[in-house]
């Protein structure tokens, strides 16, 4: 990952979008204060809140929406975010990321993508790289374990040749956890990506402890259940004691719960809004809940 300054234009773009948002100011992170986590296989640190692109960045050729995505990326980097995650499955998300990166200049992105094909993995990876416009990916993952044996061979070879820094696998919404666990036990993975949030906690039983044992970084997808969870909670009162952990919204409440699990490295909420991306990064600042508070948070959400 390269850390280079953002262009003034990019920062101004993010700032302009911020000014338009009434919610943003009290929910803003200072980049220097954003929690970082170490990638176990290398020791490299990375901001604990990343940016997912499922649905939100699939805006096709729409010039207005492409600029909105670029503004989200500008705000993300400005507030200390680093990892952006995508997939060839996500429609136009990859070229839209590439558009944003080109518009922002030298952004300090940690590029995480996936291989998702049953046939020619190398060709798809090269196509993805061209869409992003990066010299190489930081992380490539086998999407939903599709053709995982062949793709892992390819990714290990790329890593060996210096064309890739980290290798991982992904699943989502609790699918194929038995196979996922078997691969985690037998393959030298740097990252695993899975679904985890305050109501989807199955991975606490086996996969998260196993990731700690095996020294694998954990990326958490669908932290808000694709928005369903925050929509369900938005009519409910945030408890007064949420202030004790610095949570000013349900999104921050959920993210702080996720990040407080010691196995979690990065959570990657997806959004198309500047105020939301800033709010998400702000969740990675201030105190995190301890075990007692985690139990209290889960019990509170469960009884709603």
């Amino acid at each position: 990952m390269t850390f280079r300054p953002l262009t003034r234009r990019a920062v101004l773009a993010g700032g302009a979008a911020l000014a338009a948002s009434p919610l943003a100011l009290p929910l803003r992170a200072q980049a220097s204060q954003v929690l970082t986590r170490a990638i176990p296989s290398s020791g490299e640190t990375i901001s604990a809140v990343g940016l997912g692109t499922w649905i939100t960045f699939n805006v096709g050729d729409d010039p207005v929406l492409r600029d909105e995505c670029a503004a989200v990326m500008a705000a993300f980097f400005e507030d200390g975010g680093r990892m952006i995650d995508s997939s060839p499955m996500y429609g136009s998300s990859q070229p839209v990321i590439g558009y944003g990166l080109a518009k922002l200049g030298d952004a300090p992105v940690f590029s995480a993508d996936k291989v998702w094909t049953s046939s020619d993995g190398p060709a798809q990876i090269e196509q993805s790289r061209q869409y992003w416009g990066v010299p190489r990916f930081d992380l490539l993952q086998v999407h939903n374990l599709l053709a995982w044996q062949d793709h892992l061979k390819t990714l290990y070879a790329m890593k060996e040749a210096g064309q890739l820094r980290y290798v991982g696998i992904t699943t989502s919404e609790g699918r194929r956890h038995d196979l996922f666990e078997e691969i985690m036990r037998t393959e030298p993975l740097d990252f695993v990506q899975l679904t985890y949030n305050i109501v989807d906690r199955e991975v606490e039983e086996r996969l998260l402890p196993l990731a700690q044992d095996r020294g694998m970084a954990v990326i958490v997808n669908r932290p808000f259940q694709q928005g369903d969870l925050t929509r369900d909670l938005e009519g409910e009162p945030l408890p007064d004691w949420a202030a004790e952990i610095g949570a000013a919204s349900w999104a921050q409440f959920i993210l702080k719960f996720i990040l407080s699990h010691p196995a979690v490295t990065v959570a990657i909420p997806a959004t198309s809004r500047v105020d939301h991306v800033r709010e998400n990064l702000a969740a990675a600042t201030g105190p995190l809940p301890d075990q007692a508070m985690r139990r209290r948070m889960a019990a509170y959400v469960e009884q709603l």
Binding site: T56, N58, D62, M89, Y90, G91, R175
Partner: protein, 227 residues
């Protein structure tokens, strides 16, 4: 092995906002062609009602051109940008165009059915031409995003089904599967987005099939009056 844990919305790759803005961008890119295709649709409806000689040939050929246009310009170049599945659907629009073209050139399409089928066909075509564009403002979306016959798939498929209700059964059975298939795909997509208009393409497809079934029954009775 099929994974039944997936929900319909899990297959939705884009947000409703992106989907609906796509029609605004498409109309803007092709303007004023939407006015021309709408005028063509109205002219074809008048031809079907007045039934001048050889009109069937020209209706089929114009429909073929519009299916090719929608498949190429909308599905291949517009929709596929946000939904890779459109790459696989677009060739079916080409096939439909080819079938209509062959039917037209061979003069095998006679839009000459009357009675209830005539009324059903007129209703479907009129709705596709006039009613479908109104769905945008009725749903709180701008007029600029109206879905126009000959430009976007839903009204094109529904109007085609309406025209095919006027055609004799064998040709209709050959030409209806692809428009029906599109109506199913479109309804599925729209319902996954929780859009109330999602019931409309499926309902139009069912109405066309019902009209066709009625024609079958009436035709059978006509052929075998003593049964």
């Amino acid at each position: 092995m099929l994974d039944w844990s997936y929900r319909l919305s899990d297959f939705l790759l884009f947000s409703p906002r992106v989907y609906w803005r796509m029609f605004e961008l498409h109309n803007e890119a092709l303007w004023p062609l939407p006015l021309a295709t709408l005028a063509l649709g109205i002219a074809m409806l008048i031809l079907v009602i007045l039934r001048p000689r050889r009109s069937g040939r020209w209706i089929a050929i114009v429909l073929a051109i519009l299916w090719a246009l929608v498949g190429w310009s909308f599905l291949w170049h517009r929709y596929a940008a946000i939904n890779w599945a459109a790459f696989y659907i677009a060739p079916f629009f080409g096939l439909q165009a080819l079938l209509l073209l062959v039917g037209g050139l061979l003069d095998r399409l006679r839009f000459d059915q009357s009675g209830v089928r005539h009324a059903a066909g007129c209703g479907l075509v009129t709705f596709a031409l006039v009613g479908y564009p109104l769905l945008a403002p009725l749903s709180g979306r701008p007029w600029a995003g109206a879905e126009i016959f000959g430009i976007t798939p839903d009204p094109t498929a529904i109007a085609t089904l309406g025209f095919l209700v006027f055609v004799r059964a064998k040709m209709a059975l050959l030409l209806m599967p692809i428009p029906i298939l599109w109506c199913v795909i479109s309804s599925t997509t729209l319902l996954a987005m929780d859009a109330w208009v999602g019931w409309i393409p499926a309902a139009a497809g069912l109405l066309a099939l019902a009209a066709l079934a009625l024609r079958h029954r009436v035709s059978d009775e006509t052929v075998q009056p003593g049964r």
